[in-house]
């Protein structure tokens, strides 16, 4: 049980900088998920916590102790690797018990603890097998057992589910959550799967290109993404992002204008990006709404996704009702104003003042076809 402090941490491989100064605090016992696209530096950060990667600059402290110079084994972390990294030549029992063996725990005691751990991860019947004779999910459990047995202060997971098939992934997700509830060690979990991130995290860290984009509770991030990057990365299908400009205290969006709250008067003339999630778009009643050019419809069984083009940019809408669209025909959507997001087009950052979204609440109901 320990808090992890990451202070101004940088990482360079030779001349290329991979992490550009990361500051994070992971409170004791929290389940933190680091989410980001491939190559953004998630693993690098995790491995620096573990001690597998040198820290180029900055400081990492675990439970208050700066660990920069410590060997992995001295940091009290346990790690579950993406490919599990099980020792293929050892039985499940030996895999789980290896850390104890190295630290010289007597055989009998070791045996007892291995059995205990195996019972927790449900591997009691497999203790004598080699990893090769296990299914994906079972291997995953061995990896967890091996990490658990040392009763680490910190659990690190590097995309532990990405090698499993979809069904298994869902059930292992549940198991990891249960395990965390049981052990309550500070856990850092790296993934690029936003569903995993959303469902597992107490606290979510979204990274991009070696920088932290946003930190917060998953739903918070979902509802108030701090940047277009986060907005597009979280949620599937991705949020529709449409380029526009603030003109006359309002944003023009296709055939509609969205008046801004007065506090945003300073934005006049600014290039902005308007975002709305496909699942928040509705088909408009005939004659109303924003018009887009239909492209095609994807039938998912449970609902469908209408793909269209609005302002020359792709626009998707997840809708429940059946529609018939012929490619090239116009189709009208309602964009509920309370679900609109506004971003600075240049920096990509969310525009919000005092926690108030930019578009005027009052104006929401008045969203009307523009005159153009």
């Amino acid at each position: 049980m320990a808090q992890i402090d990451i202070r101004a941490v940088r990482k360079s491989y030779g001349k290329t900088q991979t992490l550009h100064g990361v500051d994070l605090i992971f409170p004791t016992g929290e389940f933190v998920v680091i989410l980001g696209p491939s190559g953004c530096g998630k693993s690098t950060l995790l491995r620096m916590i573990a001690g597998l990667e040198e820290i180029t600059a900055g400081e990492i402290a675990i439970g208050g102790t700066v660990v920069n110079k410590l060997e992995p084994r001295e940091r009290g972390c346990a790690m579950v690797f993406q490919n599990y990294a099980l020792y293929p030549h050892m039985s499940v029992a030996d895999n789980i018990g290896y850390a104890l063996k190295v630290s010289g725990v007597p055989k009998a005691e070791r045996r007892r603890r291995v059995e205990e751990t195996a019972a927790i991860v449900g591997l009691t019947d497999y203790l004598d097998r080699r990893p090769a004779a296990l299914s994906g999910g079972q291997r995953q459990r061995v990896a967890m057992g091996r990490a658990m047995i040392r009763e680490p202060k910190v659990f690190l997971f590097d995309e532990p589910l990405s090698n499993l098939d979809a069904k298994l992934r869902v059930s292992m997700r549940a198991e990891i959550r249960k395990l965390h509830q049981r052990l309550n060690a500070t856990s850092v979990f790296v993934t690029h799967d936003q569903v995993e991130a959303m469902t597992l995290a107490d606290r979510l860290v979204v990274m991009n290109k070696g920088r932290v984009e946003q930190v917060g509770q998953p739903l918070d991030i979902y509802h108030r993404p701090a940047s277009t990057f986060v907005a597009a990365f979280i949620g599937s299908p991705a949020m529709n992002l449409i380029d526009s400009r603030v003109e006359g205290g309002a944003v023009r969006l296709g055939s509609a204008v969205i008046p801004l709250a007065p506090a945003f008067a300073g934005l006049e003339g600014r290039a902005v990006t308007v975002g709305i999630r496909p699942e928040q778009v509705r088909l408009a009643a005939p004659g109303t709404g924003l018009v887009a050019i239909a492209d095609f419809v994807e039938e998912l069984g449970a609902g469908r996704i209408v793909h269209a083009v609005m302002e020359g940019q792709p626009f998707a809408a997840a809708i429940g009702e059946e529609v018939r669209v012929a490619p090239g025909q116009p189709i009208a959507f309602d964009l509920p104003a309370e679900h609109l997001h506004l971003f600075d087009r240049e920096t990509g950052r969310r525009i919000e003042i005092d926690g108030e979204p930019a578009q005027s609440r009052a104006a929401a109901a008045t969203l009307a076809p523009a005159l153009s």
Binding site: G51, L52, E54, E71, P72
Partner: protein, 296 residues
Amino acid sequence: MIQRTPFANALTYAIMVIGFLLLIGPFLVVIAGASQTMQQVNAVPFRFVPGDQFLANATAAWTRGDLGHAMINSLIMTLMITFGKVALSACTAFAIVFFRSPLKHLFFWTVFITLMLPLEVRVVPTYAVAADMFTPFRLLIQFFTGIELKIEWNLLNSYAGLTLPLIATATGTFLYRQFFMTLPDELAEAARMDGSGPVRFFFDMLLPLSRTNILALTTIMFVYGWNQYLWPLLMVTDPSYQTVMMKLRMLLPPEDGGTPDWNVTLAGSLLIMLPPVLVVAVLQRWFVRGLVSSEK
């Protein structure tokens, strides 16, 4: 990287340097000795510092062993072995791996068994066959038809004789086979869908893809061919076909004269070692990759 402690690093370097002395040291001694004068090379203690006599010694060795001629012979033999092996093995491996043929397993085992029996243990009869390539046929024909044929084809004292028997083993075939097995099935299937037949597939796909293996095999076979010892010793009686390995003996300090001139001997053996060492050094990268993929 984990465990970059100064101690571990120092130990690592110590091991690598000891390895260097062990494996490369002998070369250094030979180079030192080969470039010293006769007095220096015979001095005790031996001085590891190279002298300036290498050219003189090498020239002496070159003449004593008549190396010029032998080098050319060795080169011809080596290239023929290398080329023959590289080409024939690829064909055989192709036949074994890519065809569904009842003979496939027969081919496989016929070739596999040769791995275990080098020339040394069957050298006398091999010599007899080389002396008259047609013996087996003649005997067979005679056995079945009673006709005694008179044709003969003698391989003694010829490049064919130096090379053909050495091409008749399995190493190369296995290298290719292992590599071919690792190629995804879909590659051949895609080619088939594209309308390519087996022969086209062989030339358009397999050969270009086997580049690394070909280079590795080239290296191995160059070393193997150049270093052939017993076979040329037996099969060549005509000095115009002598290879450098056969000259080693001549390079030894003459038995009838004074202080042994090891400096000349060493310079000579250095010259003889050089070509395969160069080949390995130059082709090292592919060689290593090819070697490793031949494993198992």
